[in-house]
Amino acid sequence: MCADATGGILGFCWLQAFIANPHVGALQIGPRLPESLHWLAFALAGFTLAAIVINAVLMVTALYTWFERRLIGRFTSRLGPNRWGPFGLFQPFADVMKLITKEDIIPDAADRPVFTLAPLVLVVPGFMVFAVIPFGADSFLGRLNIGVLFIIGVTGINTLGVFMAGWASKSKFGLLGAMRGVAMLISYEVPMALSVVGVVLLAGSLGLKDIAESQPVLHLLVQPLGFLVFMIAASAEMSRAPFDMIEAESELVAGYHTEYSGAKWAIFQQAEFTAPLVTATVGTVLFLGGTSGPAVLPGPAWFLLKAFVLVFFFVWARVTWPRMRVNQIMEFAWKALFPLALLNMFVVAAEMQLLQGADGGLDVSDLWIMAAVNWALALIAIFGIANLLGQSKLRLPVPVPSPLANMGVEAD
């Protein structure tokens, strides 16, 4: 009764069973309502669940901002926020209070409705993705049978938010940032979606819970190339370094959100800090087996651990690498990531054809064979691409003194 997509997305089913179903009816709302008003119980259930998810995400993001800033502090031989609360844990709340009490400036020339709407368009997809992540074994929402498609579709809305913000603020810096943003975000969606196809093929399902449970051998091991492309494309999707040219502090001041301040700017920051969490949780489900792990820890704990390892890598990349130039970022998407993602997809499909048994399935030994082949292929492909596109092949020329200098001779 609950298998349809909308039910899963809005969380109707779980609470419908709980509230609206006359046979369960723990809260005794459903049975008292006439048949024609059951939609009300539906809506109530949906809003309750949405409130729970959004508030949980907000709190986790607040903790994550602290985590990231502490980590960046350590990376840059500083301490990071450590003043308010134990280890500075309350810092995010201080930041939020400061930001929402600041003056909220809307430029005169700005398109007010679009300007106001843009932060929301950017922040909501992050929350929506969290709704379908299977955090535990009995997570109901994770059973949405088109989970992967849902995530790819919903995260695509980001592009619109970036463009709305840049366009509506009538600022040249904003417009340049938005222009870059649209070009980059759309380009990187292609390799990201393609890198997931291999996972979907192996799991035989688009549902996130099915994918998480279909990994006797982690997809990270079976398709390293897919994982790599996913991680890189995802960090471009959330426009973090080295792909942060949308904001490009040193060039475009703050890119598309140059003109924003106060609470709206806080919402942009919220979106920016939710993105790595979203990516890490999705990556955990797709490639690291979700809640699976030795029984020393409960499933959700494994999930969080894996997600934070991925987040750590995002932060590490962010503080180490400089930004790429716009044309280089686009080149990288189409000349490096796109072929790699395609290769991964074809190789996985071919191996499945070759290795599948009489019943059409793969057993664990087949997966290990695939892992061995794919790792070798991945290394060859990466070195090949690096050789074709990379700079390291260019030898540094030996300096030759110019004849224009006559340092040995006294000029006067």
Binding site: I72, F75, T76, S77, R78, K172, F173, L175, L176, R180, R240, A241, P242, D244, M245, A248, E249, S250, E251, V253, R318, V319, T320, W321, P322, R323, M324, R325, V326, N327, Q328, G390, Q391, S392, L394, L396, P397, V398, P399, V400, P401, S402, L404, A405, M407, E410, A411
Partner: protein, 368 residues
């Protein structure tokens, strides 16, 4: 049908994250490529040259600190040499060595600042490299504090010597730093020099030909990165540079990467120079005693040193009084900026900031 695009003019600065102070760049973009560039400066003009006419020869030393405020020692050195030339003031040998040591420490500090901000402009989030390079610079500033009590505006040198001898604890501290410095430089280089993204963004970007560099009277690391082996320390040795052995590193192509690489190599050479100076320095006076007011002969003199950023020269005209009749500063940052348009037009928006950063100008010196 060709798509019609419209050039957009943007004011980068005076308030902008990567303008090294208050510098304004009117840039016209067509999409992502730069069509026109017009540098506008003068926002930090303090009239240093005019102020110098109202101060005594000794007081002007403090003004020179504020020119290029990340290389005050070299500024001091250039100025006091001009005064000494004008007034025929002898300088004790120990003072000469102290001057060279502090000027080379300053060169390392200034190049560290360059590397930090250069990487910041390349977009390393959170200023990782900036913090790394400032960690080392901090130790150099500690040494300066031991020498003269100040960290930024040093005013360590005086016509006829330096204000005071280095305290005993200065030498072991500096020896320790100099021992660790090559390791620090290796660490920075490990993060930058072979980095794929750095290479992709800096190789063959903002190429300055040796001919243009010489014709535009570019000096310093930028000139040497274009392959012109010209260093005042070798060409017209001052202080005790003729007694130390060091190389003048040059670049091959004159692109942004070479400008970075030349500076890194210069830091290594500076460590070498300081080591030799420490071996050669002998006890003795550090200042020639003279009258309270320096009154050089009427006439003029020009003295130049190899600043971290190029040739910093002071041209002093004296009428025999206690302050110069005219003081002209040849500031390397200002003259190095003149090629900005040639380097930027035709490039990309992303290159703009990187090329500007590679010139390593200091607005205190540009505007004076």
């Amino acid at each position: 049908m060709p798509l019609r695009t419209e050039p957009v003019t943007i004011n980068l600065g005076p308030q902008h994250p990567s303008t090294h102070g208050v510098f304004r760049l009117r840039v016209t973009f067509d999409g992502e490529s730069v069509v026109d560039v017009e540098p506008v400066f003068g926002y930090l003009h303090r009239g240093t040259e005019k102020l110098a006419e109202e101060r005594t020869f000794t007081q002007i030393v403090t003004l020179t600190d504020r020119l290029d405020y990340v290389s005050s020692m070299s500024n001091n050195l250039s100025y006091v040499q001009a005064v000494e030339k004008l007034g025929d003031i002898p300088v004790p040998e120990r003072a000469q060595y102290l001057r060279v040591i502090s000027a080379e420490l300053q060169r390392i500090a200034s190049h560290l600042v360059f590397i930090g901000f250069f990487m910041q402009e390349m977009g390393v989030f959170g200023g990782t490299l900036l913090m790394y390079s400032f960690r080392e610079r901090e130790r150099i500033l500690d040494l300066f504090e031991m020498l003269c009590g100040a960290r930024i505006t040093l005013s360590y040198m005086r016509p006829g010597g330096v204000t005071q001898d280095a305290p005993p604890e200065f030498w072991p501290s500096m020896a320790g730093l100099m021992q660790e410095m090559p390791g620090y430089i290796d660490e920075l280089e490990g993060l930058i020099t072979q980095n794929e993204i750095v290479l992709a963004r800096t190789r063959n970007v903002g190429v300055l030909s040796d001919e243009l560099a010489v014709n535009a009277s570019i000096t310093g690391p930028i000139l040497r990165a274009s392959g012109v082996q010209w260093d005042l320390r070798k060409a017209h040795p001052y202080a005790v540079y003729d007694r130390v052995d060091f190389d003048v590193p040059i670049g091959a192509t004159g692109d942004v990467f070479d400008r970075y690489l030349v500076r890194v190599q210069e830091m290594r050479e500076s460590v070498k120079i300081i080591g030799q100076c420490v071996e050669q320095i002998e006890a003795g006076p550090v200042k020639t005693e003279g009258p309270f007011f320096v009154r050089p002969r009427a006439g003029d003199a020009y003295a130049a040193v190899e600043n971290p950023k190029g040739e910093l020269g002071f041209y002093l005209v004296s009428d025999g009084g206690i302050s110069p009749y005219r003081c002209k500063i040849r500031s390397p940052s200002f003259i190095n900026l003149t090629v900005l348009k040639e380097l930027l037009v035709g490039g990309q928006v992303g290159d703009l900031v990187v090329v500007f950063g590679s010139l390593d100008v200091n607005l205190g010196e540009v505007d004076r």
